[in-house]
C-alpha cells in the first residue's frame, strides 16, 4: 500500500480544541494496525474554528483537510483514505473536488503565513526545504545599502500598526554612527482580540529569525532581542528551539555562513504590561526597568537600547523580509495598493463564522474580508460593526463596509489598521459597552506617567460605566468628547494618544445608542443588564414554575399552572428566567 502523510495542527488553538488527544490516538492507531502512515505535526493553518485539523496526502491521492477531528474519527479516516474510500462529514479542503473552505483559502494571499500550517515549526530542515535561509544567503552577497534600497522599493510598511516605511527606518539605523547597534523584534502582542503574531511565532519561528538576521546585517548590528509576551508559552518554546538549531547550522553566531558577519539573538520574556508594546517602553523593559515610555526624539534609531542605535520592527514586518529578498520588491508590489503594498494578516474573531487567521492582499474591502473570507456573521445575524486596531482603534459601521483595507483608507474612518485584530460585532453587541470595555483596558494598562492618560481615562471610564448602568446624565457625551481631545493632546505615547479612539468612533457612528442609554435608559442591543426589564407575558405562561425555581432572587411568584409575575423591585436582572423558560413567555426589553 502506498504510504500516506497525516499532518495534524498542534498550535495553541489546536491543542485547546483537543488536538493533543487526537495525536495520541493517531500514534496508537498507526502502530497497532501497522498502517503505512507517516505522522507529522504542524502549527496553525488559520482555520481555528475547524480545529483540530488533520491533513491527509499521498503521492497519488488528492490532498484533503479534515476539520473537527475527534479521537473516535481517527481509525476510520486513516483506513478510509488509504483505501480511497474516505467517508467523513467535514472535509474542509479538497485538492480536486469542491469543499466548504476551498474558497476561503483561494481568496487569501500568503506571504507572512507562507509556511504556517504546512511545516513542522520545530524542524529547521522543514523550513529549509520550504526555501528557508535562501534569502539570507542571497542577502549576505549584497551590500547592506542594496538590501535597504530593496526593502524601501518594496514599500513595506510597519505591520505593528503605525505603518511607517520599514526601509526608511532601517536607513536611519544604518546611518547612525556607533560601534554597537541593536535590532529588536516586538512580539509583545497585547491587543485583546489579536493573535496574528502568536500564530506566526508558533508556526514559523525561523521566518522571523531570518528576517532579523538580514535586518541586522543591513543596519550593521551584531546583537538582537525578541521581546515575547509571557502569555505565549508555545511561541517561546518554538523560538528557543529555533535559535539553538539556527546557531548549530551557522545561521547565527560568529562568522555567519562563512562571512565576517556576527549576530547573536536573545529572547526576552515579557512580564505582562500592554504598554511594553510601545517601542520606547519595550526597550526600558528589556533593560530591566518599569516599562514606561520615554520622550522622542531621540528616536530609537539614534539612541535606543542602552543608549545605542536600535531598530525595532514587529513580528509580521520581520516575517515579510525574507520573502521580499527572495522574490524582489516588484513581486511584493504586485499585491496590495500603491501606498500599502503587500498583504496583511488579520485575526478574525467575535461573531464571525470563520474565526481564525487570514492573510489577504491590501486593498480588499472590509465587506469581502468579512463575507468572502470570513464566511459572514455567525447564526446569520445582522452585522453591526467591526472593531479594528484593538484599544487604539475604532468600530467601523455597516455603512462603511466598502472601505478598503489599507493604512490610509482605514485611518479615514477614525479606526486604525493596528496590528490586525478584527472583532466582528452583531446586533446583540452594545457599542457603549464595547467603548467601556476598551477604556477599562487602557485605564488598567496606562503606565501612569502622563496625567491625562492616567486620570483622564479613569474619568472617561467612570462616565461610560455610569451610562451603561442607566445613570447617564445630560452633558455626558460632551464631557467624553472634551476629555478625549485632551487625553490625545496630553499623552506622550501611543497608548494615551489613541486610548479615546474606541469612544470617539462609537460616538461618531453609534451616537443614537449613547442617547438611548442616557435619555431613555434603554440599551438597544439588550446587553447592558442594568437597563433590562424582564416581564412575563400572561398569555404565554403556562405556570410550569421553572422560572420561579431558578430565580436566585426569589422574586417570581404565582400558583402552579397559572401565569407568574416578576417582582421588578427585587429583580437582579440575571436573566435566569429568560434562559430557562421553554415557552418564550418572558420578554427582555
Amino acid at each position: 500500500m502506498e504510504k500516506i502523510i497525516a499532518k495534524l495542527g498542534l498550535g495553541s488553538c489546536g491543542v485547546a480544541a483537543g488536538a493533543g488527544e487526537v495525536w495520541t490516538e493517531l500514534e496508537k492507531v498507526i502502530s497497532e494496525n501497522k498502517l503505512p502512515v507517516q505522522l507529522e505535526k504542524t502549527a496553525c493553518i488559520g482555520m481555528c474554528f475547524e480545529e483540530p485539523v488533520l491533513e491527509l496526502s499521498g503521492k497519488c491521492k488528492p490532498g484533503v483537510m479534515l476539520g473537527k477531528v475527534t479521537p473516535a474519527d481517527v481509525k476510520g479516516v486513516l483506513e478510509g483514505y488509504l483505501l480511497d474510500k474516505l467517508d467523513y462529514q467535514n472535509i474542509i479542503l479538497h485538492e480536486h473536488k469542491p469543499a466548504v473552505h476551498n474558497e476561503l483559502i483561494a481568496n487569501q494571499q500568503r506571504i507572512v503565513l507562507r509556511n504556517c500550517g504546512k511545516i513542522d515549526p520545530e524542524s529547521l530542515e522543514d523550513y529549509e526545504a520550504a526555501g528557508g535561509y535562501q534569502a539570507l544567503r542571497k542577502a549576505l552577497k549584497m551590500l547592506p545599502l542594496e538590501i535597504i534600497e530593496m526593502v524601501k522599493a518594496s514599500g513595506l510598511r510597519g505591520r505593528g500598526g503605525a505603518g511607517f516605511s520599514t526601509g526608511m527606518k532601517w536607513q536611519f539605523a544604518h546611518s547612525a554612527r556607533n560601534d554597537k547597534k541593536y535590532v529588536v523584534c516586538n512580539a509583545d502582542e497585547g491587543d485583546p482580540g489579536a493573535f496574528m503574531d502568536r500564530s506566526t511565532l508558533e508556526g514559523d519561528p525561523h521566518s522571523i529569525i531570518e528576517g532579523m538576521i538580514i535586518g541586522a546585517y543591513a543596519i550593521g548590528s551584531d546583537e538582537g532581542y525578541l521581546y515575547v509576551r509571557a502569555e505565549y508559552p508555545m511561541a517561546i518554546k518554538h523560538l528557543k528551539k529555533a535559535l539553538i538549531d539556527a546557531e548549530a547550522k551557522g545561521y547565527l553566531g560568529n562568522g555567519i555562513l562563512g562571512t565576517k558577519f556576527n549576530f547573536e539573538l536573545h529572547i526576552k520574556e515579557g512580564a505582562g504590561a500592554f504598554v511594553c508594546g510601545e517601542e520606547t517602553a519595550l526597550m526600558q523593559s528589556i533593560e530591566g526597568k518599569r516599562g514606561m515610555p520615554t520622550i522622542r526624539p531621540p528616536f530609537p534609531a539614534e539612541s535606543g537600547l542602552w543608549g545605542k542605535p536600535t531598530n525595532i520592527n514587529n513580528v509580521e514586518t520581520w516575517a515579510n523580509i525574507a520573502w521580499i529578498i527572495t522574490h524582489g520588491a516588484d513581486a511584493f508590489r504586485q499585491f496590495g495598493t500603491e501606498k500599502s503594498p503587500g498583504t496583511k494578516v488579520f485575526a478574525l474573531a467575535g461573531k464571525i463564522k470563520n474565526s481564525g487567521l487570514i492573510e489577504v492582499p491590501m486593498g480588499m474591502t472590509l465587506h469581502d474580508v468579512i463575507y468572502k473570507v470570513g464566511g459572514g456573521i455567525r447564526n446569520d445575524r445582522q452585522f453591526k460593526g467591526v472593531q479594528l486596531g484593538g484599544p487604539s482603534g475604532g468600530c467601523v459601521p455597516a455603512s462603511l463596509l466598502d472601505t478598503t483595507v489599507d493604512y490610509d483608507s482605514i485611518n479615514k474612518t477614525g479606526a486604525i489598521m493596528g496590528s490586525g485584530g478584527m472583532v466582528v460585532m452583531d446586533e446583540d453587541t452594545c457599542m457603549v459597552d464595547i467603548a467601556r470595555f476598551f477604556l477599562n483596558f487602557t485605564q488598567n494598562e496606562s503606565c501612569g506617567k502622563c496625567t491625562f492618560c492616567r486620570i483622564g481615562t479613569r474619568r472617561m471610564l467612570e462616565i461610560l460605566t455610569r451610562i451603561t448602568e442607566g445613570k447617564g446624565e445630560d452633558g455626558d457625551i460632551e464631557k467624553l468628547e472634551e476629555l478625549a481631545v485632551n487625553i490625545i493632546k496630553g499623552s506622550l505615547c501611543g497608548l494615551g494618544q489613541t486610548a479615546p479612539n474606541p469612544v470617539l468612533t462609537t460616538l461618531r457612528y453609534f451616537r443614537d445608542e449613547y442617547i438611548a442609554h442616557i435619555r431613555d435608559k434603554k440599551c438597544p442591543a439588550h446587553s447592558c443588564s442594568a437597563l433590562l426589564t424582564y416581564t412575563i407575558v400572561p398569555d404565554k405562561c403556562v405556570g410550569c414554575t421553572l422560572c420561579a425555581r431558578n430565580c436566585p432572587a426569589y422574586c417570581i411568584s404565582g400558583e402552579v399552572k397559572k401565569p407568574h409575575v416578576i417582582d421588578q423591585s427585587k429583580c437582579i436582572k440575571c436573566g435566569a428566567c429568560f434562559t430557562n423558560c421553554k415557552f418564550n413567555a418572558i420578554i427582555k426589553d
Binding site: 495553541s12 488553538c13 491543542v15 485547546a16 480544541a17 481555528c48 474554528f49 480545529e51 502582542e189 497585547g190 491587543d191 485583546p192 482580540g193 489579536a194 493573535f195 502568536r198 509571557a230 502569555e231 505565549y232 508559552p233 526576552k268 520574556e269 515579557g270 512580564a271 505582562g272 504590561a273 500592554f274 523593559s285 528589556i286 533593560e287 530591566g288 526597568k289 518599569r290 516599562g291 542602552w306 485575526a347 478574525l348 474573531a349 467575535g350 461573531k351 474565526s355 481564525g356 472593531q387 484593538g390 485584530g421 472583532v423 460585532m425 453587541t429 464595547i434 470595555f437 476598551f438 483596558f441 494598562e445 503606565c447
Partner: protein, 154 residues
C-alpha cells in the same frame, strides 16, 4: 534536599553583572518560590546591589509578578475583546462561584487555585477561553466549568 536559600543564591549568582537582568531574575525567583516575598525582595536588593525601591517598582509594575502566595493551579480567565463579546463575564462568575471565592479573594482557602483575569490569551477563535497552568480550554459555557476544575482537584 537542597537548602532553598542555596537555590535562590544560585539564581542570583547567574545573573550577577548581566545588564537588564532584573525582570528575568524576578521571573526565575517567582518560579522557584511561587511568589515574591518582601523579605526575598530585600535580600535580592542587598545581594545584587539594586535599590529595593527599584525592585519593588518593577515587581508591582508588571502583572505577572505576585507579591502574595498563589494557589497550586493558576486559572487565567481571558477578558479579551472576543471573549468579552462571547460572555467572558459569565465564565468568570462561574469559576468564582465554583471555587466559592469571596468578593475580594483570588486564592482558595486550600491553596489549590488562584484566579486571575488576563487581557488576551490569543485564542480568540475559541472564545470564551480560560487557561489553567499551561492548558487552554476554549468554547466554554458556565456549565462546563465544574467538570474542568474537578480534573485539577484530584
Amino acid at each position: 534536599m537542597q537548602n532553598p536559600k542555596q537555590e535562590l543564591d544560585a539564581i542570583l549568582t547567574r545573573f550577577k553583572g548581566r545588564h537588564g537582568a532584573l525582570i528575568p531574575l524576578l521571573q526565575e525567583v517567582q518560579q522557584l518560590e511561587g511568589f515574591l516575598e518582601q523579605d526575598t525582595l530585600r535580600y535580592i536588593s542587598e545581594q545584587m546591589n539594586i535599590p529595593a525601591a527599584e525592585i519593588f517598582g518593577v515587581a508591582t509594575f508588571y502583572s505577572m509578578f505576585r507579591l502574595k502566595p498563589q494557589g497550586r493551579h493558576v486559572i487565567r480567565v481571558c477578558k479579551g475583546t472576543a471573549c468579552h463579546v462571547s460572555g467572558a463575564n459569565t465564565i468568570l462568575g462561574a469559576v468564582r462561584e465554583n471555587l466559592k471565592l469571596g468578593a475580594k479573594e483570588d486564592t482558595t482557602a486550600d491553596g489549590l487555585f488562584t484566579v486571575m483575569e488576563v487581557a488576551c490569551l490569543g485564542c480568540c477563535s475559541l472564545a470564551p477561553v480560560i487557561m489553567i497552568g499551561d492548558q487552554t480550554f476554549g468554547k466554554l459555557t458556565p456549565e462546563k466549568i465544574s467538570g474542568i476544575l474537578d480534573k485539577f482537584r484530584k
